[in-house]
């Protein structure tokens, strides 16, 4: 079994050196109308390159652009859609990070179906390793939206509308060469009864993924109660957060997996570094029970919740863990 190392999404857009504080400075200057949107884009580009460089140096196989251009996981995409207005701040799950809440005021329509393509193409052209685009899924978008458009009072039509807006994005990213596309659905773990709604949305979305593999990532909660049902979803890879329930590892080992897994065994939310040998031992036991020819090892969630030095240390830890597994290279 091949074990590939990847990032689970975001990466810090700031650090302690002046170069790594360029984006904060430029955004501040733009807010004060002292610079141009073009200089902000350039600063974002510089921080994307820094994120890619650090992932490469840490030894990852599949990189992300760190979602450096994303104001937050919800409003970045939702804010580009007709029918949506962006409103006040709200806490994002159990993090100390706040997102701007979308308000559905009318029928949701994709602006041009190419909202995220340029980000992917920029990252791809600045990376020697494959890049994985990361999108927030339709259920998580819907669960964070305030509804003022009566047809969306029910969850299902709202999720469907977001899925329809995401479909051309998926298609464009696959067409542009993305081999793996990550779809984040942390909301599923908090709203487990939404499972059928998400399932229907994924059945539609998966038709638009072309040759790309669709990786569904669930995190910020315990996936154990849903684990067997997750196996039934029309996705190619399942990304799982192991940090909320220490018993979940044994459950996965007991049941095995019909799908390749992306294993969030390294805590993306705390600075404490895991013992590489202990994680490698767990990993060996899990991989024996997974069908397929490749699995992924990644932090339990995006790394923007950690300071930059600790985020990089977590990525390097992934390499150390892989080196201590029994032949999973």
């Amino acid at each position: 079994m091949k074990l590939l190392l990847t990032n689970a999404g975001s990466y810090p857009r700031i650090g302690d050196t002046p170069e790594l504080q360029l984006l904060r400075r430029t955004q501040g200057a733009l807010d004060r109308k002292e610079t141009t949107p073009e200089s902000l884009q350039a600063a974002e580009g510089a921080l994307v390159k820094a994120a890619l460089r650090e992932q490469e140096e840490a030894g990852l196989d599949l990189l992300t652009d760190g979602q450096v251009r994303w104001g937050d996981p919800i409003s970045h995409f939702a804010g580009k859609l007709a029918g949506i207005e962006i409103s006040a701040l709200l806490r994002y799950f159990d993090t100390n990070f706040y997102f701007r809440q979308p308000v559905a005021k009318g029928e949701i329509k994709a602006a041009n179906g190419r909202a995220l393509l340029a980000e992917y193409e920029f990252a791809k052209s600045n990376s020697s390793k494959p890049v994985k685009p990361v999108l927030t899924g339709p259920l998580t978008l819907a669960r964070h939206t305030l509804v003022e458009h009566p047809p969306y009072q029910q969850l299902d039509p709202l999720v469907r509308a977001y899925a329809q807006a995401l479909a051309p994005e998926l298609e464009a990213l696959a067409h542009a060469g993305a081999e793996v596309i990550q779809l984040d659905e942390p909301a599923l773990l908090r709203h487990q009864t939404d499972f059928p709604v998400l399932q229907r949305a994924l059945q539609m979305l998966t038709k638009h993924k072309g040759k790309a593999k669709l990786a569904l990532y669930v995190y910020f909660g315990d996936p154990q109660p849903l684990y067997e049902r997750l196996q039934q979803l029309p996705v190619d890879i399942l990304g799982l957060d192991f940090t909320y329930n220490p018993k979940f590892v044994e459950r996965v080992i007991a049941l095995g997996s019909q799908k390749p897994l992306a294993l969030g065994l390294v805590d993306g939310r705390n600075t404490r570094l895991e013992d590489a040998a202990a994680v490698a031992h767990t990993l060996d036991r899990i991989l024996l029970r997974v069908k397929g020819d490749a699995c992924y090892l990644n932090p339990s969630c995006g790394l923007e919740y950690l300071p930059r030095d600790r985020a990089l240390a977590k990525l390097k830890l992934l390499t150390q863990i892989r080196a201590q597994t029994k032949g999973h290279k």
Partner: protein, 335 residues
């Protein structure tokens, strides 16, 4: 209602007392001075003098505007957790982490047993209180938020961490009370983060305030309040401060169903918008509050600290609140 508690403490406040959540914007000279200190261009004493000047400015402005319960404006603080972590043994300074948009903070790391060794906020509280006859709130961060907004590399789990923080915060509350502080605000913006942890967050606050002679406020904001209500009413405080300007539509029905049994510091202006609300809008928000809440239990303030606004915006927002409070008093005292 906690008017009795206020009376016991010899605090006379009008109907609809106006207060603030805590922070005010720092003037440009202070931002510059903090950077200069980092570069070694000025001394800590020079920075302190400028922080005192800025604090005195905000005390004077709050009095001028007619604010009833003042805050020192936190001109000397960076972040609400890091400020305490910087002086408490057991914490280590962490790197920058984003909180939203272009806002970042240094998230501390707990690397050993956290201990209270000396008062942290008392000097500044005293400095502010000496400049006004109106009560100044003591401003602390609560044990659950100290735990949740730090990385933990020492304690075995979150509950143990939180209860350890409670012991530390209680000692600081005792020091404030000994100095003469009668209203202590213990902020718990993180409390609605994990509903399943609410029981030990309540236990921690109980350990902080139990038996102490003060009027206690806690500020909770931008969270999934609906998930912790009405259980959150069990917090061992007299007043819960909530962001309500954008959330009243969904929170007031909850308070209708399960009556709000404490005083409430009711946020009537958006702390994160450049727009200064007009007085009519704020008056309408107060009127909406009074459809569910009793007039004796309502205090008025912004949704959250105002440190992200400009000085002019913050003053403008405070002004509309005090004007709306005056109008509400005129209407309700004559009724």
């Amino acid at each position: 209602m906690s008017r009795e508690r206020l009376k016991e403490l010899c605090l006379e406040l009008p109907l609809f007392p106006v207060t603030s959540v805590g922070s005010f914007p720092k003037p440009d000279y202070l931002t510059q001075a903090r950077a200069d200190l980092q570069k070694g261009k000025i001394t800590a004493a020079e920075l302190r003098a400028l922080e005192e000047k800025a604090t005195a400015f905000w005390i004077e402005k709050q009095e001028e505007l007619g604010v009833d319960v003042l805050v020192d404006g936190e001109q000397y603080r960076g972040d609400m957790v890091a400020y305490f972590a910087e002086v408490l043994p057991g914490f280590q300074e962490g790197g920058l982490v984003r909180s939203y948009g272009n806002r970042y903070y240094r998230k501390p790391i707990i690397v050993g047993a956290v201990e209270w060794t000396k008062p942290i906020t008392v000097d500044w509280w005293r400095f502010a209180q000496e400049r006004t006859d109106r009560p100044v709130k003591g401003m602390l961060t609560g044990p659950y938020t100290l735990m949740d907004w730090s990385f933990n590399e020492h304690y075995p789990d979150r509950k143990t961490t939180c209860l350890a923080m409670a012991q530390v915060v209680r000692k600081e509350v005792e020091a404030l009370i000994e100095a003469g502080c009668k209203i202590v605000q213990i902020d718990e913006p993180a409390i609605s983060t994990r509903v399943e942890e609410l029981p030990f967050a309540l236990e921690a606050m109980q350990q902080v305030t139990n038996g102490l002679p003060a009027y206690f406020v806690t500020h909770i904001c931008y969270g999934a309040f609906e998930y912790v209500y009405p259980k959150v009413l069990e917090l061992a405080v007299n007043n819960i401060d909530l962001d309500m300007s954008a959330t009243a539509g969904r929170r007031l029905p909850l308070m209708q169903k399960d009556p709000f049994t404490k005083d409430i510091s009711y946020g009537v202006v958006d702390s994160h918008s450049h727009l200064i609300e007009d007085v009519e809008t704020v008056k309408q928000r107060v009127a909406q509050a009074l459809t569910v809440l009793a007039k004796e239990q309502v205090w008025l303030d912004p949704d959250c600290g105002l440190k992200t606004r400009t000085v002019e915006e913050a003053l403008g927002k405070l002004r509309v609140i005090t004007e709306a409070a005056k109008a509400a008093r005129a209407e309700h005292i004559t009724q």
